[in-house]
């Protein structure tokens, strides 16, 4: 269950960012922003010509005291960043991977919409509902 989900475009501006409504959402925005550096470092570490061999799932980008940040890059350099609660120890790597896969599928669905211009903010309700299903249910 994610605390914050963000979709970052190739040019490193956010296409979609949504966090659990807490008192300090700016903190999540900041964490996502700093994670972009780590993402760039990871994708460049493997070399420029190895795009095919690079895995889309980047894994744990960096842990903080309360949260862990996971990353995922598509072939078109669109990045998905997910912040999860560090106390949620039951969350396995496979679950994170499946969540990213779902994100990627929904993102592809959004792209399939001809009225969506790549680079616009994502306003698809289907995408929203999918992200809602992944977020922590704050009652």
């Amino acid at each position: 269950m994610a605390v914050c989900v963000a979709v970052i475009a190739k040019e490193n501006y956010p296409l979609y960012i949504r966090s659990v409504p807490t008192e300090n959402e700016l903190k999540f925005h900041y964490m996502v922003h700093t994670s972009l550096d780590v993402v760039d470092e990871k994708i460049s570490a493997l070399g420029k010509a190895l795009v095919d061999q690079r895995e889309l799932y980047l894994g744990l980008l960096y842990p903080t005291e309360d949260h862990k940040v996971y990353g995922y890059v598509t072939n078109s350099k669109v990045k998905f960043v997910m912040v999860v609660d560090a106390s949620n120890t039951a969350l396995r790597d496979n679950e994170i991977r499946s969540m990213f896969r779902k994100l990627h599928n929904s993102y592809t669905d959004v792209m399939c919409n001809p009225f969506y211009n790549p680079g616009d903010r994502i306003q698809s309700r289907a995408f929203d509902s999918m992200v809602t299903s992944m977020m922590i249910q704050v009652c």
């Binding site: 190895l50 896969r101 599928n105 001809p114 306003q123 309700r125 509902s129």
Partner: protein, 673 residues
């Protein structure tokens, strides 16, 4: 059957057997309708573990069909606890049905009233005059539309008949009590066909269709649980509602009246014709871009169009099949007429329903031939066909995602079967079931738009790429024309136009001078490209190759040195000329060394002077200048050629370097991060 415990009241709810059966049937139908039905608000769809929920939409319609006034229904909904918990679980549903029965019997809507024995609730389902008991098969006749639905009702309710007969006698007497609020709609139900057409024309301002035309809409098979079957009664209930005062939906849970989301026969024809105008083959897709252009003409805002697309493209492949297209078109029409867009695709607009209602054979009628002739846009769909077939092979990018998608969708399918249906997720999941089959068209159409453009581009004969400058046959002198023009952007305005005919070959002495001059002058000149000079230049290159290397400052000769290393073979020189020329450079070598590299053509003129001025000065000078210019142009060409070759060499070296780096990376142990 379980006894529904503690609804909103906290006291156990005792149901007789008949009531149990009746209620469970109703509940199953409402829950079944949720399978393809419109979703209520998300909270209404929250799953109760271990139990199904009835979607708010069909439930609300059912309640309205009970002919109770709106306030009563509100009270009932509140009392049964559905509002509080946000959904219609079995307990809430049963309590609500009990309350409806109580209300219809004239009892006040209270929890206490359901404790006593009550008749079954009545729901107005049929079109006939007079009220028809929900479970009474005897009166269910007349309307063909109801038959498929009601036959199932007949079967299910026959068992309850015996138990109900007693209460039946009460019902006619009770009915007048419940009917006063319903009498106006009752009255208006009679001229239903007329009323429907009025409604449709007022609402849609499109083809008013007689109600009878909608009979074939109802599919003969009641396979999709109660979904299609509930539609005619819901349609009636909604029609009634729309004629009554409250036109807007009363509460947030109630869905929209169903009729705006039904496609009439004439509308269907219209949509199909429009589809054919975009895509002659009714069984194929309309690509995203084509559809986008078409729907943009409707002048709806882009976010709305985007949302409509999202609703109607059930398999999310970026293309619209005919049912999807009709659904999208219908939504646009509805939106333009003021209907707010639904949260999810209404069941009447879902592709499976549309395909079942309008069998494909009807679409691919003879009109297809007539349309295929006169399609102005037929070329585009043909390109689409071509591109689709070609893209199948070329679908590289979507393929990995497609595989992942297939796995994920199958996994989600399995998960979905276990969990209780959520309306929203179900709407997306059920199309995704079919999309797992259609995943290939997803890949096809995703890249088809780009490939289509590529195909179109390739349709135009591509401008032939500039011939490689390596080949140096005589015919390639024509290429020099192309080469020189782009490579000499700073062409002098006074550059000589391309000679239509071969210029006379200058005499060897002049040639030697000019070759010297051209070689000595490092600056490229925009030359004319006479055929003869090219040969001469080749000769000069050959000679420079043959002789001792002249000064390094002579760029062209350097170019000639390195390039001939590669161009030996391509050079197809008549052997006589180099032989002839060989001797000259030897004479000229010292001269070249003497002469500093001069700049420009005018410089060549003074260099000519120290030469033995045997020739006539003025006219010869002009000719010499001209030939010098030509020479410079050729030198320029040579330089450009050399440049391109060096660039290619550089690229190759780069690639080699990258390959080596890759190998190095692979050999290096992978760092674990």
């Amino acid at each position: 059957m379980e006894v529904a415990g503690g609804g909103g009241s906290g006291s156990p709810l005792l149901l007789s057997d008949a009531e149990q059966q009746c209620y469970s049937e109703l509940f199953a139908r409402c829950a079944g309708a949720a399978g393809g039905g419109p979703s209520g608000p998300p909270e209404a769809a929250r799953a109760v573990p271990g139990a199904a929920t009835a979607a708010a939409g069909p439930v609300a319609d059912l309640f309205r069909a009970s002919q109770l006034p709106a306030e009563t229904l509100h009270q009932i909904t509140e009392l049964c606890g559905a509002k509080r918990v946000g959904y219609f679980g079995p307990t809430q549903f049963y309590v609500a049905l009990k309350l409806i029965a109580a209300a219809q019997s004239g009892l006040p809507v209270r929890i206490e009233s359901i404790k006593c024995e009550l008749p079954l609730p009545r729901f107005m389902m049929s079109k006939n005059d007079g009220e028809v008991r929900f479970g009474n098969p005897a009166e269910l006749h007349g309307t063909k539309a109801q038959i498929p639905y009601l036959t199932t009702e007949k079967n299910s309710f026959k068992r309850t008949d015996d138990g109900d007969k007693q209460q039946e006698t009460q019902s006619p007497t009770m009915s007048p009590l419940a009917s006063p609020p319903s009498s106006p709609p009752h009255y208006q139900r009679v001229p239903l066909s007329h009323g429907y057409s009025k409604l449709w024309s007022s609402a849609e301002q499109m083809h008013p269709a007689p109600y009878e035309a909608r009979q074939p809409l109802v599919p003969p098979e009641g396979t999709s649980s109660g979904g299609p079957g509930t539609k005619p009664p819901r349609l009636q209930a909604s029609l009634i509602r729309s004629f009554s005062v409250e036109r807007e939906p009363q509460d947030s849970n109630s869905n929209y009246p169903d009729e705006p989301w039904r496609i009439t026969e004439e509308q269907r024809e219209y949509y199909v014709n429009q589809f054919r105008s975009l895509q002659p083959d009714p069984s194929s897709f309309i690509s995203g871009s084509v559809a986008k252009n078409f729907f943009t003409k409707s002048k709806l805002s882009i976010p709305e169009l985007s949302y409509i697309w999202e609703l109607s493209d059930a398999d999310c492949d970026g293309a619209l099949t005919l049912p999807e297209f009709c659904a999208a078109f219908h939504l646009i029409v509805a939106r333009k007429n003021g209907y707010p867009l639904p949260e999810a695709l209404p069941p009447t607009l879902q592709p499976e329903y549309l395909q079942a209602a309008f069998p494909k054979s009807k679409w691919e009628c003879a009109a297809f031939d007539s349309y295929s002739e006169s399609m102005p846009a037929s070329q585009q769909p043909r390109d689409l066909h071509r591109s689709e077939t070609s893209v199948k092979d070329m679908a590289d990018f979507p393929v990995p995602i497609q595989d992942v998608t297939l796995d994920d969708k199958q996994a989600s399918k399995n998960i979905k079967d276990e969990a209780s249906p959520k309306d929203v997720s179900e709407d997306s999941a059920t199309p995704k079931d079919s999309s797992s089959l259609k995943a290939r068209p997803r890949s096809r159409s995703y890249s088809s738009t780009s490939i289509e453009e590529a195909m179109k581009r390739s349709e135009d004969p591509p401008t032939p790429p500039p011939r490689p400058q390596k080949t140096h046959s005589r015919a390639s002198s024509l290429d020099l024309n192309k080469v020189f023009q782009p490579s000499a952007p700073a062409a002098k305005s006074g550059s000589l136009p391309q000679p239509p005919a071969l210029p006379p070959r200058p005499c060897p002495s002049q040639v030697s001078q000019h070759s010297v001059n051209s070689e000595s002058s490092a600056q490229p000149k925009p030359p004319a490209q006479p055929y003869g000079d090219f040969r001469l230049q080749e000769q000069s290159e050959q000679t420079s190759e043959a002789e001792v290397h002249p000064q390094s400052s002579r760029g062209p000769s350097q170019a000639a040195e390195s390039s001939p290393a590669k161009k030996d073979i391509p050079y197809s020189q008549p052997p006589s000329k180099p032989i002839r020329r060989k001797f000259r450079p030897e004479n000229q070598a010292p001269e070249n060394q003497e002469l500093p590299p001069t700049v420009g053509g005018p410089a060549s003129a003074p260099t000519m002077k120290p030469h033995p001025a045997v020739q006539k000065q003025s006219s010869k000078q002009k000719k010499a200048i001209q030939t010098a210019i030509r020479k410079n142009k050729e030198a320029n060409a040579v330089l450009a050629r050399l440049n391109s070759e060096l660039q290619q060499q550089l690229k190759e070296v780069h690639q080699e370097r990258i390959a080596l780096e890759n190998q190095l990376e692979q050999l290096r142990p992978v760092t674990v991060l």
